[in-house]
Every structure is written in C-alpha cells, then in structure tokens.
C-alpha cells in the first residue's frame, strides 16, 4: 500500500449477477439468514424485523428494493447489518463474498446505464482487477420516502 493513495475497505456482496460494495465502517455484522417477524403495512421490500442479539432490527430485501426478481433464500443468503444516519438496518443479499481495499481515486462516477439497478442508488463504480464493483449510496437506499409513501396510502 502506498502512502499517497487513500484506501477504503469495503465489503463486497452479490445481488443477482452483480457485485456491490459498502464501506466496511458502515457495516455492523454479517449474519446468516434467520427467521424474522413480518411487520404489517410496510413497504413490500421491508421483510420484517429480526432479533439481532437483543436489538430489534428491521431487514429489507435488497433485491426487492432494487426491483430485481426475488429468489428463494439459499445457504449463501446473508443479512448485512448497516448503520446509516443513525438507522440500523439489515440488508438481505444473495451472498457476502469478500473484503477488499480499494483506492478512493479509482472510484468512477456511475455510467448512464448500469445493470438493472436504478442509478440514484449508485454512488460510483470501481474496477478492481477483472471485477466491476458497484458502490452503493446507502442513504439513498435507506431513504424513508418510499416507506412513508406506502404507509400514507394505506392509512
């Protein structure tokens, strides 16, 4: 590691065919899938709440959040708990693969079309060796607008 370059450590996870990353300092823990309790009248991507070592933590299905088709949970399915803006949320992902050091300079702005995920959730892309990693804008992903809208409609 050279001194001049700022490196950031990220966690890499899989969703459908793409690899996404979240800065490691945002991540609380990575859990295996566990039973959850459905919370009625919330957005469909809010799967419910889990008991994460005594703390009731909401979990959201990232596939559904991004409008990808949903799949059955597998052995590889993981819940990544993240803390954004003081909110503690678990993200259901297909698999958590790796922890990598990437250079901050190597982050490029998102190209116009990247896969199927809405561009507003994407902060940038990183080429790492032969892989293309998508850096997520977590505050956008967790922004409550969609959740609230749905609630208002229901009530």
């Amino acid at each position: 590691m050279t001194e001049e370059k700022t490196m950031i450590k990220v966690i890499v996870f899989q969703l459908q065919d793409e690899e996404y990353t979240i800065p490691v300092d945002r991540v609380g823990s990575i859990e295996r899938m566990m039973t959850y309790t459905r919370v009625p009248r919330t957005a469909s991507f809010v799967k419910g709440v889990i008991n994460l070592r005594g703390v009731v933590t909401p979990i959201i299905d990232l596939r559904e959040r991004f409008g990808l088709e949903s799949v059955e949970d597998s052995e590889q399915t993981r819940i990544i708990t993240v803390t954004i803006n003081g909110m503690n949320v678990g993200l259901i992902v297909d698999a958590a693969n790796d922890v990598l050091d990437i250079e901050e300079d190597s982050i490029e702005p998102p190209p116009e079309v990247v896969g199927t995920v809405e561009a507003e959730y994407i902060q940038g892309v990183v080429k790492f060796e032969q892989r293309l990693l998508i850096l997520l804008n977590m505050s956008k992903v967790l922004s409550g607008d969609d959740v609230k809208q749905l609630q208002e409609m229901d009530v």
Binding site: P40, N51, V55, Q151
Partner: protein, 682 residues
C-alpha cells in the same frame, strides 16, 4: 473540556449541592434561628466552591464565595436571617444553577453576577464590620503565597483555611511521571482518582485541562485537602504505575507562611532537591495523627456510586439476552428430560428472576428528584402572584422508573403553575370566602398495583362548570348541545382538550401559549392518564396515573393466524369468546352486544394483511380494548397468555408503522409486535 472525565461528576455533584442548598434554605426560612441548617448550607456551598475553583469556573467560585461569606456571618450570628437576606441568597443560588446548566451544556459557566455579588457584599459589609477585617487579612495572605510555586487564588485560599480549621491537611503534592511514560493523561487521571478518594483536589498546576491534554512535561503539582496522612497519600500515589517520584508536603496558609516558603522555593528552583523535604516531613506529621483518625472512618460511610443510565441499559439488554437463552435451555431440558439438567436450569431460572428484579430496581429512582424543585418554584410563584401558599409534599420516596421520571417533570410544573395561578385565590378573596388566608397545595405520590399515582390538589376556587362550557363553546371545542349532555367530569376534562387554551390568556405564570392539552398528551404518551375532580370553592384535584416503568409492560400475547402479537394489558378490559351467530351488523360494520353496549369488531387478520393459514372455527376470540370511553373488540385466533415483556422500539427506519407501538423479544428469541390499540379505535 468536553472529554474531561471530571466534568460529569462535577455537574452531577454541583446539582446535588445546589439542591441541598435550596432545600435547606427553605427550611431555614421556616426556622430562621436553626443554626445547624446554616451549617449544612455552608458546607454545601463550601464544597461547591472548592469544586468550581478546581475545575476553573471562576465566576461560579466567585459567587459561591460571596454567598459563603454571608452564610458565615449568619452562622456566627453576626447577621439575622430575614426575608431580604434570604431573597438575595436565593437569587445567587438561581444564578449558580444557571451557571451549572450552562456548563453542562458545554459552556464555560460565565455569567454576569455583579448585581447579586454586590448585594451579597452589601449584606456582608452593612452588618458586619468585624468580618470585613478578616477578609482583608486573608487577602494579604494571598500576596505571601503568590511567591510559592503554586499560585493560590482567594477562593482556594479560603478553602484551605477552612480545611485547616477542620483539622484536615493541606498537602502540596508533586508527582513526576517516568520519562518513558506512554499515556501521560491516563496516569494523571489515575493519580487524580487516587487523590479524589483521599480528599479533595483544590488546585493543580498545570491546570486539569492542560494535564488532560498532556500539555505538561513529566511533572505536575496539586494541592490536596485530605484527612489522610502524608505517607498514606504518597504510597497510594506510588501504586499508580509509571510514577517516578511523589513528594508531598504540608501546604500551610496561616502561621506557617513564614517558615514554609523556603523549601517550596527551593523546590521550584530545582526539582531534585525536594527529596530531602520529603524525608523531613513525616515526623512533623506524626504529631497530628491522633486527631485525624476518626475523620477518616467517617468518610467510608458513603456507599453509593454513580452509574450512567446508559450502562444500566446495556446491562438490561445483556440480561434480556440471558433470559432468551434461559427460555431455550428450559425447552431443551424439558425435551431431554434429564433430572440433573432440569434442576440446574430451574435454579438458573430462579436466580435470573431475582437478577431481573434487581436490575429493574436499579433503574428506579424516588420521585423526590422531580418533587424537590417544587418548593422553590412555589415560593417564587406565590411571591409573583401575591398569594400565600403552603406546599405539602407526600410520598416523595415513591419510586418510578428513570425513563418516566425524566418525562414527568414538565407536565407537573405546568399543573402546579396552573393550580397556583388559576386555582388558589388571592388572600383577600380567600378571607372573604371564610377560608384561611394561606392556600394549600398538596403534591402526593403513591403506588397502587402496577401504577404510580400523582395527585395535585389545591383548596382554591375550583373549576366552574359554566365558565368552562362558555369558553369551550366560544373556542369551538364543543357545541352547546354537546356540553349540556356532559357530566361534570367530562366538562372538567374539556380544559385539557386542544384548542381550549388560547393565546390571549398568556400570563407569566401559567399558559405560555400551550395549554393543559400538552400535559394530557405527554401523560398519555407515557402510557398514563389524567383525570380532574373539582368542587366550586373547595378546590380541584388533578390525578395522574402512570405506569411504573416504560421499559417493561404487561401484555396479553395473542395469535393471529400464525403470527404473534402483544396487546398491552393496560388497554384491555377483558377477553371473550363469542359465537359467530352472535355477531350483528350495524352500518355495514360487524358489532357485538357486549354487556349491554354495542362494540365494533376489528379483524386484525384483515387490518394486518396476515396470510391465512389457519381454518376458522365457529367462534371468535375477542380482546376487548378501550380508548377513553370507546371500546372495540379485536378479533384474534387464539390467546397465548399474559406476560411481562421488555418494550423495544422498531428503530428509526420503521418509525410510525400503523397500529404498532413497538416490539418485544419472546422466550424463543422471536420478535413479537406490540399493538397500539388506540390507533385501532376510531
């Protein structure tokens, strides 16, 4: 400064001392000749001054010092306690409080206190010339001591003088850290901790703040007031690792000023020579030893410690984890049917049950914490309003969960202000009505079942039904027809409905534009309720019912299809099972006849969109809940039972979910949602 570990302690203790001063001053007002009370006040003020000076809050120390001078005169019967004197003292306590609040909010505790200081000074000067003399004396001593390494200001000096009077030692302690000491600030902190246990640090050089920031070489000097002996102090400090050298010597303020400066100056010129001074000192100390010993044993008596509430929350969380695992263990041991295992698990269950009650009890604090600021407030208010009021507090020792305590203060203040302003009449009016001139306001707290009741009763004019109705109608809260059908209690409750209190009646005392509806909302958000009883010319009673704790509630666990929900017992009237054919229809809604009342049914299955998996039978299981006078029957599939559960929030991400007030973790580790039945009753 924010990270200063002493700051928190300082703020806590200052508040305690100020409270003690307040309480005692009020007592003093009742019995102006009770000198032991003055002593109490003096002691509190004195400690406060010492702490403030150590922490470098000069304004605070300055004012306390002036106040102390006046108190000293009272104590020595040089001035008489009267209202005017007490008013000034009360004013200065107010200023002190404001300063402490400022400090706790990150300020420097600075405040313009000139007028109060001037008043205190006037009292002091005007009535006791003798003491003014003393004052100048100590000032001249200051000049002497400024030559020594430790510059001691007037306040510190006064602290030292007084401690000498009380047969305490004043030590000047120099501590050198080892050259290779890595964490200097940490060592300093440890040394200070040792010192605080032994006595009181009144001064440090460099200042505590600089020490915290490691802005010193390897050596620092402190002034310690202690009952302990020199050797003890030195050896205790030596127990802290990475300490190179500790030297303690008597720091004297009065007679010894002549003899003392010499070694002190030597020390300041060269750090190494002091070793000799240490060697000579112990003998000198020995003579005084017999006197000191009883003091020391007294200090041990204090057995309480302070714990940050957050730590208790962490403890509580960990304990909940344990309870969940206990549940699993119980299940496993039952399945295995192993005798010894079962016995052990049972024992563990019992112990953890005890543990739970202990942990819960630790969070309980007496309501005194809230009540004790009221005497002062009532005194001030009765002056402002020119009314005579006798405040009686009953049951201040009643314990409540800390979370409730934190929230209940403001509503109570509001109610008391209201009672004084609108309830109790002026002395003339009272006399005209044939009542005693002094009105009585009673504040009463007591436990009953799982609740705490707080009653605020006055013997004032009471609430006049017609006036309330008139105002409510004018402000559009109710219509005249509605009002005519209301009973007295319902009418009284109108004064707490939003829109009743309007801005045109803002007075200094009650009604800052917010009405009693805020009080009602706060109390209801705490899971309590408030009711009013009143009789014209006899007075009113505001009665508040509160849950003992907000973190643990009793719930009824129910099953809706395969999902478990918890309904707070506080809102449940009863449970019932009704046949399907007993269901009636009214306005397209399903209702039942429940004990002569028509109760609408709420199908949780539909409202919560629960996936249907269980086949319906011919009966409905109902949980009858209420909100005020309204009722509803929640249709569930089965009752699981009653349970005490720990209330947890769903987190910020899911705040404001419809009809869900929180969640809890069940014995099997699963999360169950807690219903907010208020949202389900329209």
């Amino acid at each position: 400064m924010d990270n200063n570990p002493y700051l928190e302690v300082f703020i806590d203790e200052s508040k305690e001392h100020l409270q003690a001063i307040n309480d005692n001053l009020l007592k003093l007002e009742q019995n102006p000749n009770d000198l032991p009370i003055v002593n109490e006040v003096f002691r509190s003020a004195h400690t406060l001054k010492g702490m403030a000076a150590t922490m470098g809050y000069q304004d605070l120390a300055n004012l306390t010092h002036q106040m102390e001078n006046v108190l000293d005169l009272i104590r020595n019967e040089k001035i008489q306690v009267d209202e005017s004197v007490l008013d000034v003292v009360f004013d200065s306590v107010d200023d002190l409080e404001a300063m402490v609040v400022d400090i706790s909010e990150g300020g420097q505790g600075e405040r313009n206190v000139e007028t109060v200081v001037a008043k205190l000074y006037a009292i002091e000067q005007g009535e006791a010339v003798a003491d003014a003399l003393q004052q100048t004396e100590s000032a001249s001593e200051d000049v002497h001591n400024e030559e020594t390494k430790l510059e001691v200001d007037e306040f510190t000096m006064a602290v030292l003088e007084q401690s000498a009077d009380q047969n305490l030692h004043n030590f000047e302690i120099s501590v050198s850290l080892r050259e290779d000491c890595m964490l200097k600030a940490a060592r300093v902190y440890m040394v200070f901790e040792v010192l605080e246990q032994l006595g009181e640090v009144v001064k440090s050089e460099p200042a505590v703040e600089q020490l915290e920031n490691e802005e010193f070489d390897t050596r620092f000097t402190v002034l310690l007031v202690t009952a302990a002996e020199q050797e003890e102090v030195v050896s205790k400090i030596h127990k802290v690792s990475e300490i190179d050298q500790v030297e303690a010597k008597e720091f004297s303020v009065r007679e010894d000023t002549e003899s003392q400066p010499e070694p002190v100056q030597e020390e300041s010129s060269s750090g190494t020579q002091t070793a000799t001074a240490v060697a000579t000192k112990p003998e000198k100390k020995q003579e005084e030893k017999p006197k000191e010993e009883p003091k020391e044993t007294k200090q041990v008596a204090n057995k309480t410690i302070r714990i940050n509430i957050d730590r208790l929350d962490v403890l509580m969380n960990l304990f909940e984890e344990l309870v969940i695992d206990r549940g699993r263990l119980e299940q496993i041991s039952n399945e295995l049917n192993h005798n010894e295992l079962q016995e052990t698990v049972e024992r563990m269950s019992r112990i953890s049950g005890d543990l739970q009650s202990i942990i819960l009890n630790m969070r309980m604090v007496p309501i005194e914490q809230v009540f004790n600021r009221f005497p002062r407030m009532v005194r001030q208010l009765s002056r402002d309003l020119n009314k005579k009021i006798d405040l009686q507090i009953v049951g201040a020792e009643t314990e409540l969960d800390r979370t409730v305590i934190d929230e209940i203060g403001d509503p109570l203040v509001h109610l008391i202000r209201n009672a004084l302003d609108h309830g109790v009449e002026s002395p003339e009016e009272r006399l005209a009505k044939g009542k005693p001139e002094t009105g009585t306001l009673e504040l009463k707290a007591y436990h009953s079942g799982n609740h705490v009741f707080i009653e605020i009763s006055d013997d004032g004019g009471g609430i006049k039904r017609e006036k309330v109705i008139e105002k409510a109608v004018n402000n559009g809260v109710v219509t005249e027809e509605q009002a005519a059908n209301m009973n007295d209690k319902q009418v009284f409750e109108l004064i707490m409905s939003s829109g009743f209190s309007t801005a045109d009646q803002i007075s200094d005392v009650s009604g800052r534009g917010v009405g009693l509806d805020v009080v009602k909302n706060t109390i209801e958000s705490l899971g309590g309720n408030i009711s009013i009883d009143s009789a014209v010319d006899q007075g009113s009673v505001f009665s508040i019912q509160l849950p003992l704790t907000l973190s643990i509630i009793s719930v009824m666990l129910v099953e809706v299809q395969k999902e478990k929900y918890a309904v707070p017992l506080s809102s449940i009237i009863e449970t019932a099972i009704v046949k399907k054919e007993d269901i009636m229809h009214a306005h397209n809604k399903k209702v039942i006849d429940f004990r002569g009342k028509v109760v609408p049914l709420v199908f949780l299955k539909d409202i919560f969109e629960v996936p249907e998996t269980v086949e319906a039978d011919d009966y409905y299981s109902l949980v009858i809940v209420r909100k005020g006078d309204k009722m509803a029957g929640l249709v569930v599939d089965s009752f699981i039972g009653q349970q005490e559960v720990v209330l947890k929030s769903l987190g910020d991400y899911l705040s404001g979910v419809f009809a869900i007030s929180g969640a809890t973790i069940l014995g099997d580790g699963q999360v169950a949602l807690i219903l907010d039945s208020n949202a389900l009753i329209k």
